[in-house]
Each structure stands twice: as C-alpha cells, then as structure tokens.
Symmetry: D3
Subunit: 266 residues, 6 copies
C-alpha cells in the first residue's frame, strides 16, 4: 500500500484503487495579489501550501486525506489596483472550480475540502461549494487557515481594534514564522481603518457588508498594522491554526446528511 | 417637488433631476422557492417587499431613499429539489445584478443598497457588491431583514437550538404577522437538524461551511421548528428588524471611504 | 381547495397538487425604461401588472389560470440613452427566461403564457418561446396588452398617422385611465416621426424593419403624440384589451398540436 | 474604378477606398434545414443567394450596393428533429452577427442590410439589428425575399388558406423556377394545418404567437401544400420579389434618422 | 440513386438514407481577411471552395464523399488591423464548430473532415477536432490545401527563404491559376521578414512559436514575396495539392481506431 | 537589489520597480492527467516545474527572467476517460489565460513566455498567444521542454517508430532521471500504435491531423513504449532540453517586430 497522501503522485489506476468513498480530497487555493510593501505577492498561496503540507506531513487521526496541488491563482479583483496582482474573473474562477469538482467527482471520493488561503474568495467558494454539492453530489466543505474578520472570523487583538484584514499583524506574523526571508518588516506601514469604528452596522464582518477594493483604504495596500508583527506571534497563531484545521478535518471526515432525499452520490 | 420615493414612479427627466449623489437607491430582492408545507413560495419576496414598503412609508431620517421594484426571482438552487421553486442560475443572476448595477450607475446616485430577503443569496450578493464597486464605482451595501444563521446572523431562541434557517419559527412568525392569510400553520412540521450539534466546526455559521440542498435535511423543506411560531413573536421580530434597518440605512447614507485611491465615481 | 390563482401564494406541495396539465401559467413581464417627460419609468410594468391583476380578478371562463409575479426588469437597450432605464442585456434576459421556463416545466403545467408589457421585447420573447418549447416541452405563448405597431399591431388612429409606438397617445391614455396620479400630461410633448411616411417599405411594422434607439427619434424619448391622450380613450382601450386577452387565453387553454412527433412533455 | 459589387472580391485597400458612407453592405443569410421530402436542405440558402445575385447583376438605381458572401448556416432549431438540419444555437448565431457587424463597422459604410432567406431567423435578426445599431452605430435593415406569414408576411393564396409557411406551395414554386433540378415534386406531400383555423388569436402571424417545432405539425416537415407548386407560379413570385427588393433597397439607401441624438457613427 | 455529392442538395429523408457510416462529410472553411494590396479579401474562401469543388467533381476512388457549403467566415483576428477583414472571435468560432459538429453527428456519418483554407485557423481547428471527437463521437480530420509554414507546412522555395506565409508567392500563384481576374499583380509588394532568419528557435514553424498580427510585419499585409508569382507556378502547385488531398481522403475514409475504449459512436 | 527571480516572492512595489520592459515573464503550465500505470498524474506539472526551476537556478545569460508559479491544472480532455485526470474545459482554460495575460500586462514587462509541460495544450496555447498579443500588446511565446510529435516535435528513436507521444519512453526516462521515486517502471506496458504506420497522411504530426482521446489507443493510457526507459536516457534528454530552453530564452529576450504597425505596448 502506498503511504503517500499526495493524490497526484499516484498513477491513475492507483488513484482509482486507493481513493475510496471514505477519502477526503483537499484542494488548497491561494492567491497572487499585492500584500503591501512588506509581504510577497504569493502570501496567500504560501499559507495555503504550508497548511496543506502540514496536514500531509501529519494527517489528522483516522482521516483518509489526499491533497491536490495548490491552485496559486484565484480571484483577487479587489487588489487589481496594484500591478503584480494576478486575478481570474469571478466567472472564470467559478468555471475552474466547476471543472475541478467534476474531475474529483469522477474518483470514488465523496468529500471535497477547499482550503482557502485568501479571505477575498470566501463568498465565491461558498457559491462553488453549493454548486458542486448540487451538480456532482459531492459533500463539499470550506476551511480557512485564517478566517477573515470580513467573513465572521476572529477580529484579532493585535492593536488593530478588530479592523485588520489584509497584510495585517496576524498575517505578517505568520509569514515571519513560516517564511522569514520573504518579509521586509522594515517596509511595513500601519493602516488601520479606525474610521470604520464610527459605524455600528456597516463594517468588516458587520451585519451590513459593503463592496470594497483594498485601494479604497489608501494606497499602501495594507489594512491593519503589520508593524507589530513578530515571529513569536506567528508561531503561536500557526500552532493554533493547525490544531483547529486537524480538528475540523476529523469532523469533516465523519460528516454526512442522515436524511438527505437527494439522489445521486451520497 | 415630487414626494414619492418610488424611483420608477418618476419620469426619466425627473429621475435625473431628483436623484443626487447623496441619494441611496434600494433594490429589494426576494426569491420564489419552497418554504415547507405551510409557507408560500414567495415568502422571501414578501419579506423584502414589506421591508422596502415600510422604509418607503417611513424613511429613515436624513436619508434620501429611492426604492426600485422588488426583484422577485433570484437564485434558489438549493431548493430546486421541490417543484414550485423558480431559480436563476448563479451566472445568470450575477449577470442580472451587473446589468442592474450598470443601469443604476447611469443615474447621479452613488449608493446602491441590496435588501436581501433570501439568505441563500448572501454569498452571491457579496460577490456582486464587490463587482459593482469595482466596475461601476458605486458604493454598494448588502442589508438583510433577517440575516440567516448560515451567514453569521443570530441563531434564534425559538426552540431550534440555533439550527433553524429556513421556513423556521422566526420566518413563520414574521409571515403570521405580515400575511396571516398566507400561512397554513396547521400543516407546519418541525425539522430541527439536531444532528448538527454533534459537530463543533462544521455547521450553519460554523467556521467550516458546507454545501447543502434543503433536501439534504429531509423531504419537508423545513429547517427549524415552525410549529412554535406566533404572530406576537412575528410582530416583535418585525419591529426590531425595522429599527435595525432604519439605523443601518442612516449609516449607509453617510458611509464613505476617506482615503480611496480608486479613480472614477466616488 | 384553494381559490387563489396567485401561483406563488401556494406552498410547494399545494403547487404540485393544484397545478395540473390543464393549467395555464402566466408570466407578466414589464420594463423599467424612459417614457418621455410625462410617463413614469415603470409604465410597461404597470400595464403588465394591471392586465395580470384583471385576469386574476376575473379569470376567463374555463381557464385554469395561475399567475406568477411580474418581472419588472427586462431588456430596454433602445432606451439606455436616457438615465433611469434599467436594462438587462439580450443574452442575460434570454438566460433568465430559460431558467424560469425550466422551473415552470418542473411543475405539472404544460402551458406557459408570457404577458408582455413592453413592445421592445417582442422579438426576444419569440426567440424564448421557441427555445422553451424545444428544450422543456412546454407549450409557450406570447400575448400583449398592446401589440406595438412595430410588430404588426394596430397602427392607431390617434392623430399619429400610425407612427406612434412609445409613450404615445394610446399608452398615455391607458395610464391616465389606470394610474392617473402617475401621469404629468402637462409635460407631454408630441414627436410623431412623420418623416417615416416618406418610406413605403422601411417603417415601424413595414416589410423592411430597422434597428433603432428611441434616441434616434429625438431627445424627448417620445414616439407619437401623447398630448391628445384622455382617460376616456384609455378606458375604452383598456376594456377592449381585456376582452381580447380573455378571449386569447380561452384559446390558449385549449390549444394543442394534434400531430406532433416531438417526444417529451406534450 | 472597379465595377464589381462583390465586396470580398476587393483587396483590403480597395475596400477602404471604394466603400463609402453612402454604400450599402448586403449580407445574405440562408439556412441548412429539412424542407420536407421534395426540397433540398439548402433551399433557404439558395433563395438568399439567388436574390443577392440578382441584385448584384442588376443593382437598384442609385444604390451603391456591395454584397458579402452568403452565410449558409444559421439557426434552425425548429427543424432539428430531422437529421440533415445544421443549426447554430441562438447565442452562437447572435455572437456571429455581432462579430460580423463589428467587422462591417470598421469599413466606411454606414448601412448594413441583412437579406434573410429563412423565416425562422426573423426574430433573431430583429434582435441583432437593434444591437448592431446600438453597439456599432450602423444603420441596420432586415429584408426578406419571402416574409413568412408567421412574421406578418402575406398569407398566400395557394390553396393553403394562409397556413403555409415551410416547404409550401410558394417556396416550392420558387425552387421550381430557380433550381428545378433540385426539386422532387413527385415526393411532395400536402400538410396544411387546417386545425389552426379553429383559433382566432393563436396562429401563424396571429396576435398570439406560439413556440413551435416543424415536428409539431407532423412528421413530413412540410407546413403547407407544395403539391400545387408550378414553375410558372414561381416565376411570377420571383419577379414580384425582385421588384420589391429593389424598391426596398432604394429606400434603404436614402433612409436616415433626421433628429438622432445618439453619438457615434451616424 | 442520387449521383450528387453535395450533401445539402439532398432532401432530409434522402440525406438520412444516402449518408452511411462509411460516408465522409467534408466542411470547407475559408476566411474573409486582408491579403495585401493585390489579392482579394476572400482568397482563403476561394481556395477552400475550389478544392472542395475539385473533390466533388472528381471524388477520390472508393470514398463516399459528401460536401457541405463553404463557411466563408472564420477567425482572422490577426488581420483585423486592416478594414475589410471579417472575423469571428475565437469563442464564437469554436461554438459554431461545436454546433455544426453536433448537427453532422445526427446523420449516420461517422467521419467529418474540415478542409481549411486559412492557416490562421489551424490551432482552433485542432482544438475543435478533439472536442468533436470527444463530445459527439465523430472521427474528425483536418486537411489543408496549403499547410502554412507556421504549422509545419513546407517552407516554399519561391525566393522567400521559407518566410512567406500570407499573400505570398505560392498563394498568389494559386490565385493567378484559379482566379486570374481577382489578382492585381501590379500592386503586389514584397515583404519577406528576413529579420526572422536571425533566430534559430523563434520562428514561423520554429520550435518556439509566437503570437503575431500581420500588422506586426509591416503595413502591407503581406508576409512573403508575391511579386514572383506566376500562373504556371500556381497550376503546378494546384495539381500537387489535389493529388495530395485525394490521397489524404482515401486514407481518411479507411482510418479507424482498432482498439478504442471510448463508448458511443465509433 | 533583490536577487530572486521568483516574481511572486516580490512585494507589489518591488515588482513594479524591478520588472522592466526588458524582463521576460515565464509561466510554467503542467497538467494533472493519467499517464498510464507507471507514471504519476502530475507528470507534466513535474516537468514544467523542473524546467522552470532549472532556469531559475541558472538563468540564461543576459536574460532578465522572472518566473510565475506553475499552473498545475490545464486542459486534458483527451484523458478524461480515466479517473484522476483533472481537466479544465477549453473555454475555461482560454479564459484563465486571458485573465493571467491581462494581469501580466499590468506590469512593465512586455514579454510573456508560456512553458508548456503538456503537449495536449499546444493548440490552445497557440490560440492564447495570439489573443494576448492582440488584446494586451504583449509579445508572447510558447516553449516546450518536450515538443510532442503530434505538433511537429522530434519523433524519437526509442523503439517507438516515431509513434510515442504519451507516457512513452522519453517521458518515462525523464521522470526516472528527475523523480525516480515517482515511477513504477515494473508496471509499465508498451502500447505503440504501429497501425498508424499504415497511413502516410493521417498521423501524429502528419499533414492530416485527427481528433483523438488517449482511450482511442487502448485502455492502458500509454501511447509509446515506456518499458525501454532508463534514467541514463532521461539524463541525456534533460541536459539537451535545458540547453535548448536556455538558447530559446536568449532569443526570446531579444525578439521584437522591427516594423510593427500595431498601436499599444510594443
């Protein structure tokens, strides 16, 4: 029996044999987009990749986990104001996810987990998860190494008053921990949108959401205060993230609908 | 000067004259979809319509509010397992919103508010709000009469253990208050997915979201316990909703990005 | 048994039970578009809505009629030169009609009638009627409260020399009858394209049709002479329209292809 | 000066020099579709081609006419029940017409005339004519050698009671005149849908139109009575058609909007 | 038995009867695009048409060949810099080929041959051939009267150093042979991109291909040296082309996959 | 000055500063598709990745080379008969390339090189290279580590009679050299389509190309004879490939159109 958990390292006959209805297929997705003057364009791809690798190296107990190659490119339209951002349109990205979902559904696996390194894709992934459930009968799940405040994630306590959501203290700390050579902390600038505190309803993660470009928050491309970032904070966050991800996958592996009336692959 | 706030009751020259950069254009969107055996197919459209009408009848102070006709049809793919549901595909609905946003942007108004009566559209609307901001320079906002638990809304206390999200106690109570003749409470059945309580991560509004059809929860089309609904509970909820919506619109009317670097309509 | 004929006031199980192969499902479609300085943007939606309501209030004898909510937004590209017009692109609108037709075809009904309040959509609806017939096996029909001269309708005798086709005497009279508060007759201007009389072949409803924007006829947005409109003329027209519509639906209800070789839903 | 009027026989520099704002560009469009057991699949293409050739051979006086190659393939979805029909989908065909219109608009010409040999395309061409007018500023016109009864054309007097519209007496007579070697009159069958006479509103060219496939009228693919066709009748019809087409083009060549407010190419 | 080999000259019932699984359906495709100052816009359509006609007049022995009407319009985006070019977008053209392929697959025939008169379409046709094989089970083939150097064709010896690929000596000679009246040889200019000889890898038909517009090679629209063209050279080339095409079709007619595991039409 | 040549390791401001009009941006593209019983699904991605890495480690002299992350997923429709293949549709993949090209064009770079690890994408990339040249003004190039025989590449001499093109001796040898742990040579089977030798015109890389699925060649998914593969052969091939690629990039870096009349970015 093969011990690798890298799905694409298998040959096609191996994949058909080793992947089973109990398997969980993991698709890590990153982004190539501006992350201020101090973080690299591939920050989100690095985070998704690192999380996938950690899960591959030390799979959650009892989970038959198979990872796919990281999709580095996704939708980053809110960062297109800055050159260097590589963004698929929303329609194109939904079509990519449809095609990949259809391909996964041709395997014996029933569970597809999207590991999302880029908060800006959360809404699109929720749309895609529903479609792949309905069109191909897959059980679909969306997990985040870091759920952004904009989608109900923790609002942080890093001197950002819960207003950091891009290239901020937490994200920068994680990079300092995982890829210190990629961070130019000396170039980091703080740009906490404290003016948002004037609103009770409208806000990142508020009950009234709003359309925005990162350029709406100024020209730095930062939303938060990365100047407070430290590798220690990053190590701490990363450890917590991995604990959560492993626990989440354990649940995903046993999740099912006990009374579904849908036909097709259950 | 015209005192109506129904945008489409104006002639085109009036619209160009009376709508200003300070105006707020409101687009109510409903859905036509199964709501169990006791609620009508147009439940979400009725809620969006009633909220829009209440705001039109008694506009929030200081808000130059103009409403558009309710778009009754939207995306309800998760309810297509039951005949009677009328659903636009995700691509079609995004295209509809693009076209309507482009049309609104031809007016002097800068602010578009989507009033969403159907929780299942929340992710699509978040995608659309971003696109309309980026493509047409509109300030875009998403408000809900009832934000579903699945998107971070309140989880209710109606004997549903926070697991009611469709045709449930709250929604049924609202209909009993607003349109009692449309409710067949005697046909209501309870279908609380208590099995979800076995999961800490995966859940409606959990940190791990999942793709689902209402048919995944059983054949009734209900997710929650509508049998506990009362008109009194509905009246109470409705009053609270209107207070929240008015407060939200007051904020929306003054919301702006103080340091945006985007070109175009600000 | 339910006595309502508003399809979406039913619950999903009721719809599946009460709608039968003999039922006729009616989809009213309007438009939001400039109608000169004297008529509201929603003129066509008001007409479609009023006709649907009249049919709902007093259904044609022997017709099992079920109405859907009015689709207020449609394609009005020929009026986009004036702000206030809300227009779906042709592709988007065809996709909307495909989606709605597919949804109707999931019910037991076999007959779908589009009640078209906006002449500019006639060609698109003819395309859609054919597609829905071929793709979903529905029997599809297109009816008009007012068939425009441009598509073979009556050319009027209202001092317009058969050249009135938008915001003209007839349409204005109808609004004066149905919604007098929405009409600013004092702002009405006459714009009869008498220059068209120089052509024998090219013309509105001629054997040579031509592409046009309402802006091709001048800046008023009017094509015709609304200054002659009266509520009496409107009442007269409306009565005749309802007689025709009722008679048309009686025919539609019994229409069938006696020798069709198509498979699928007959 | 070149004397040819075949646009594509010119070199590109010649086209840019000889085509002027007064020129009229003619695009003949046919169809490849079943025409019963007695007429060839390319009947409509032959008609469009013959008309274009006749106009090319003897251009209407004072008209600077340039013809394009006949587009043999178009939308014939209503004939796809019979193998041999070659049909583009509606979306594809609209896209083809957009592309061709954009290409024509790059020339100095302002007027594009579509010569439609296939009645089933009339609605699509009306949609396209509007789009090309609005998107590229072209003056667009739609002419027919034979306008079908379904779109307001003459209902014929050929023993078909006005109910012949495909592979019928008139069309067959025209082919007998133009391409007698292509007609197998001995195989012709009559299929006049006299049951349509039971309807006053619903009908081919009636005020209530309906979606249909030719297969809805039976398995022969004929709608009408071709058995009465004669070459003499065809010669008579053809002579009348050419008189009408020439007169139409003379009008088209001088047609313009005297008061258009549209920007762009007038 | 019919002796014609023009597929669309058949009636639908004839087509279903005479076309068999052994038949080969030939679709000639041309282009309408600039060909320098000396050749007509329809050069590629003329070549495809002439080749198809020659095959029709003298079919290869033992081949049951049926030709379709020439599709004159295709994708010529690399020539759009010059007015007169009529080009479908790549997506539109692929959709056209899908639709035509689906239509052919409804006949008993199993083999579709695209006869490509325009080198610029070669890559698109290779994509289409694969799709039609996979989607409709057709055996699909791509043949060229003249395979361009850019796609591995012969590089010529006409004083062009293998660098002629559009409106060049060979193509001009062919036109001088086939349609001398269409050629203005006195206007021909030479434009051989000898600078390409500086590259060993990058080149027309090199192992590194590159994106280009004909305008990238100068303003004449010529790539090669047509001034050396003669009708004698054209006659010689044409004879060789027909020999090759006939031999190719003989092979195509017997080609099959001996061990295919694909389901569907083989 | 940064010494890395990994474009996405830069921050956005760095990218805007360090990338110049002389820079060459390299996009490696792989595929996830069946490669017989002995090679992994990601064979093509591994090859593209290894080549990109080699070029990054030892850039060609004088070339300002910047690499993008490998796009692992592309179009592999001809391998979808075997589960494990992950394939984007042709339209989706073209849209992805458009989006990425547009993003690259926002940088100061003028040259985009696609490094194609999967022969099956060659035609699509040629289409894309032309589009990106025309739409965004980029100079675009397509290079292959291994150009397949099907597109004019070397036909090999590995006992495959020039008929090996997928999971064959050469490709297997390369994997044995680069990733020996991924190869199960003991499972390799030979499947040389010697029946192709019966055809002179139709063939892989012949003058008549044909649509095929790998399943058309049998159920093994192999086209060629991988059983003869050795790591020594792989090392030899790899060394030659890198020499060629470096030489190609040196040319690409100086390639330009000396007389282009196109506007926009040159």
């Amino acid at each position: 029996m093969s011990t690798t958990r890298n799905l694409v390292a298998l040959s096609a006959p191996e994949a058909a044999e080793l992947v089973s209805p109990d398997s969980l297929v993991l698709l890590p997705v990153g982004a190539i987009e501006q992350h201020g003057p101090h973080l690299p364009l591939d920050t989100d791809a690095l985070l998704a990749e690192a999380a996938a690798q950690a899960l591959l190296d030390d799979p959650p107990p009892g989970v038959d986990l198979w990872t796919l190659p990281t999709l580095a490119y996704s939708t980053s339209s809110e960062h297109l104001f800055a050159a260097g951002t590589m963004s698929l349109s929303e329609e194109t990205f939904l079509a990519v996810l449809d095609d990949l979902g259809r391909s996964v559904a041709a395997l014996p696996a029933r569970r597809l987990v999207i590991l999302n390194g880029h908060g800006g894709n959360t809404a699109l992934f929720r749309v895609a998860c529903r479609r792949l459930r309905l069109q191909y009968g897959l059980l679909t799940f969306l997990v985040h190494p870091v759920l952004s405040a904009d989608h109900g994630g923790p609002k942080g306590e890093d001197g950002e008053d819960g207003l950091g959501c891009h290239a901020n203290c937490g994200e920068t700390s994680l990079l300092l921990h995982l890829h210190p050579d990629r961070v130019h902390l000396e170039r980091a600038v703080s740009n906490v949108p404290r003016w948002l505190a004037d609103y009770d309803h409208v806000g990142l993660g508020g009950d009234v959401t709003f359309g925005w470009s990162a350029g709406d928050f100024g020209d730095s491309g930062v939303i938060g205060d990365p100047t407070r970032a430290t590798p220690e904070r990053g190590a701490e966050l990363w450890a917590a993230i991995l604990v959560e991800l492993r626990a989440a996958l354990v649940e995903v592996a046993r999740f099912d609908f006990p009374a579904s009336v849908l036909s097709g692959r259950r």
